[in-house]
Symmetry: D3
Subunit: 249 residues, 6 copies
């Protein structure tokens, strides 16, 4: 059994608070164990220069941590004057993941901005960001539908993410907290859709390696966890919207 009493294939408790702040078109506070992320969705009426004139939209994400989201204070990237490599990797991942389940042709020349701001970190901030950002995005598109800015829900299926890893003593485990993540030999982030397909697999054995058998176990764990996360997203989003998202499932 893990330190926090979970089985190896058990997620941490998850909570999504919709409409967490009043200004964004979509806003949630997602909590996955002690990890807490504010996800906001903004619809902007133009696309970046490289997309102009194609009649389709774009989705981009930004990710940041408050300085004391962590046990030690970390320096703000605005104070450093530049965005670090880890932040860039994460925000590129979030954007790619969301784009894979949206029909960009259906949103016109608009940009959906996703802001994921971690206010408390305990492992899995990037996967919590994706799971929460998905809900904020759906809420924003729902508002755009109501305002007749778009004609049809452009989201084609559900999307959630979790982490899996190989712990030196416990073996393959699901949804690592920070303490587990820092002692794991292998760390893998997996993003999947409501149709059970992969969007991203990012597995890294920092100063370690992993076998094909371990890869198979990790994927099995991730599928179980993501199924549960998507189940919870459906509850939060509600059946009305859910119907619009995926009549085909």
């Amino acid at each position: 059994m893990r330190k926090d009493g979970r089985d190896n294939n058990q997620l941490r408790s998850i909570h999504i608070e919709p409409n967490f702040t009043i200004h964004p078109e979509g806003s949630v506070l997602i909590s996955v164990g002690n990890t807490k992320v504010i996800c906001s969705a903004t619809i902007e009426d133009r696309v970046p220069p490289f997309m102009r004139g194609q009649g389709k939209g774009w989705i981009t994400a930004e990710y940041a941590m408050l300085p004391r989201a962590t046990p030690q204070r970390n320096i703000r990237e605005s104070s450093k004057g530049k965005i670090g490599g880890r932040t860039m990797e994460i925000q590129r991942l979030i954007g790619r993941a969301l784009r894979s389940v949206v029909d960009l042709d259906k949103i016109g020349e608009r940009t959906l901005w996703i802001d994921c701001d971690v206010i408390q970190a305990d492992g899995g901030t990037r996967t919590a960001s994706i799971t929460g950002a998905y809900v904020a995005m759906v809420m924003a598109f729902q508002k755009a539908l109501e305002a007749k800015m778009i004609n049809t829900m452009p989201v084609t299926t559900y999307l959630a993410a979790t982490s899996v890893g190989v712990h030196p003593e416990r073996g393959p485990i699901l949804d690592l907290c920070y303490e587990e993540d820092s002692s794991a030999d292998v760390d893998m982030n997996i993003v999947m859709t409501g149709k059970g397909e992969f969007v991203e697999i990012q597995g890294t054995g920092e100063e370690a390696t992993f076998t094909e058998e371990q890869l198979a176990s990790l994927i099995t764990l991730a599928k179980k966890g993501i199924n549960e996360l998507i189940g919870y997203q459906k509850e939060i989003i509600g059946s009305g919207i859910a119907g619009q998202i995926s009549e085909s499932e």
Copy 2:
């Protein structure tokens, strides 16, 4: 009567939630009407270079807004690669204000970092930051006392801040929300102590001016508001600590 039903000399509803996040030595979420700021206090075991070897401490503050704290999304300062003038003014103000009520000799060669992160903005973010940061700071020093890192509470009195302004129709008013602030002729931020003394007066008549009589009215309003804010801070901080802060009052 104002749009939100308040009298001219009435504060918005205020709420301070202590221990809002788990990692910082001091952490509060302060809400002043719709303005919400996470204030965190961190004690670091060294001082900046210009203070070294003097045997005394330092207090410094950083201030930021989430991109969708506001009705329109604003660009992150980390993305711009530099911190704007407004942000710098505010974080210098918060730091100066807190230093005025702390005996820096009593904290040794340590730095107290204050992080004020606005998650929702509706006017008065800098004064809410000061009022909330004060509570986070006292909580952090209380922990340092309990850990015997310091011997005596270094805070000499209470400290809170509010805004006042001259509205073209309503005249002098207390605690402006964003809509009032943007239509006011004069905007003044005032920081005062538990002893009724001024720490900062920053009055600006952007594209307008104000008379000595108006100045007097504004100061009267600010004093009333700050007294109420300090009364609420005392409730939150609790009588045990309160006794340590200001035996002289």
Copy 3:
């Protein structure tokens, strides 16, 4: 009596040399005691993006110090690659102050750039900058009138600034030199118009506080000093232009 022989309510000697350099539309060298600032005014035929299409103008200021304006050499902000918080505060203050006495509708979609470059510093550089910049600005508008670029003098009244402070031994004093400023408990910069109204009050008790009585004394001192500064500005500007500025006074 103060070290330099002045009474507490006495300004330092002031001198404004008009047309100090040949290229700018308005140029002065202002000396306030040993503080010397080159103030240049430039009229540019467009406004910043956020002002476009409104048919009105804008005034913006930049402030800098030569590295050896001070006893110790200070590092250029161009070498640091960014503008510091103090510089930003000052240039925002200068811009706001000037805008408060100009009818921006009368200058069309143009920007007035004010450059204040301190070549020698001995306290009060920001207030000297405002007092000098006002004269440079009037000279530039006078040239624009002569060139029929604008039809009427857009300046509505005079404007000058000074500093006041509470000295631990001498009490409230006017127009602090550097040595007085660094030992003062309270430091206040006040900007007033030719009509006796306030434009800015910025009072700070760094590691100290001040009472309502002290505030009153400081304001009285500032009013006396600013009246004298405006009297001197009128001499420099000359009666022809003076008539255009403020027929109402």
Copy 4:
């Protein structure tokens, strides 16, 4: 058959030119089809601050492209003043991959710098960089052994990387050139060791997804390709060094 005549499971022609430049401790020019990367290895006699005092070493990588490595000229990152997200992702990947096959305790407090500079790009620059950098690293460690700077070859096994992807018409393919990469639905970079274990799996379905069956096919292709690449590395490195690397295989 693919446009360039290859079978789906066939690598492009590979060539590694050792000692390509004279100054670095290890230097190769790797060509994978039309992709050409100069890989240099530098041994520096210290470690970054976060590693000091642990008695072990560090490996870090930098990656860049010449402006005309590509059909369209791309702007230098030195001219932009910052390093982009893609570059950061790649250089973090290269560093992580190399560290996974080196016993950092055996190199003392030294840093191995890897520089991968793409002089001609046609897809797969990051995997070619890893495959080439591995050889440059081994050469640098061999020199350090000869100079008795270290006592034993710290490299524990071979390491190479390739890309695989799902092409809309051709299905799963190995070692994508640029034209194939830009039309592929799924793009996956895989890094493996000489022992047949995974170091990194980075699979991305930009605006697409992939099934578990496709994942299995891609992994099979990657294993075949990496085995061939490692076979070629062994030829280049030579049997003397090869023996030192992996007596256990």
Copy 5:
């Protein structure tokens, strides 16, 4: 005799490999002794803002070194976030030199970008860059002629550069390698045309000076060396193009 066996007035061996990479419109690898520079020429279909609407073109150059072009690894300018003074001087020099032998009116509103990337450095990188960039430029214009993008070869004459210097023991010498350059009292870079005229003379006596007699000797050496370089350029470029360049010679 010099360490490498050359006479004082002898160039190092020179080699220019045309079409070194496949993407640029013009590409060469120039080797001057151990100094090796990749020179690429790109034709872009617009000019920088300050040139627009004049109906003529522009030529601009960028210069960089790979980190291990040198015996010690040098930090990338992209990592530093800014371009150093030496780099700026060199790229301004290359651009100016090339512009002096091109009739910019004949290329329309286009920009020729020259990229000089030093992959191995042993003194004289800036002069090798100019000599190589000239050939890359001619090749790019030749392609533009063939594509009927331009009607006539805009290059008016040949152009090459070399360095000369005063060595404390050997006196005035031609084409300094790094070891000679770092011990020379005077260092001079000279750019000349196929007509025997000067384009640039940059002579510097860092911590030393030079006489009018020494200047005369240095110029004589440079003329000899540049004549030989231009002879070699003519071989590489070929007689067809050579005829277009300079019918007047």
Copy 6:
């Protein structure tokens, strides 16, 4: 005759005002025609890292222009966040030139900072900066001698600079004003010592070339001008110091 009435071999009127500001160790305002530069010299009690432990000193220079030193306002380099190529070239030139006439062993591990701030520009700002900076430097060393910080005047000879150029109508001319400089075919800056030797020759034919005969004429003109400038420097510096500088002349 030139537009301003000068002969081709005639300098503009020159004036050097010593002790222009009160804080620097050496301070002059140099005027060459309408070009005006404040030159300040600062002695700092340490050397840059690359010079430490050698027991000798260093001289470095910074150069800037006020925004309205020019007919059109130019953007501050601090606002741009980086220093341009032209500025870097000039400040490197000034530093090199001064170092060539100072025995750095005689100043101990100290840095002489030279700040050249152009307050009004009309051509020749870099050469005026060198001529003025030399005087400021001598004044600073004289103070260091008086304070017994150094034992002997480390300056070995005089140093001045001027520009020469080839005007399309007037031919070779001395000391170009801005209007002449912008129409000249060739622009050359020459720095020489009191012993008649060259320190720098920087001749550039932007979009033009020059012959060996023209080079000879330009050097003759420069020698005449620099002799006169050094004569004037001797007057300003005074015979007492002059004796210390160059007993050998």
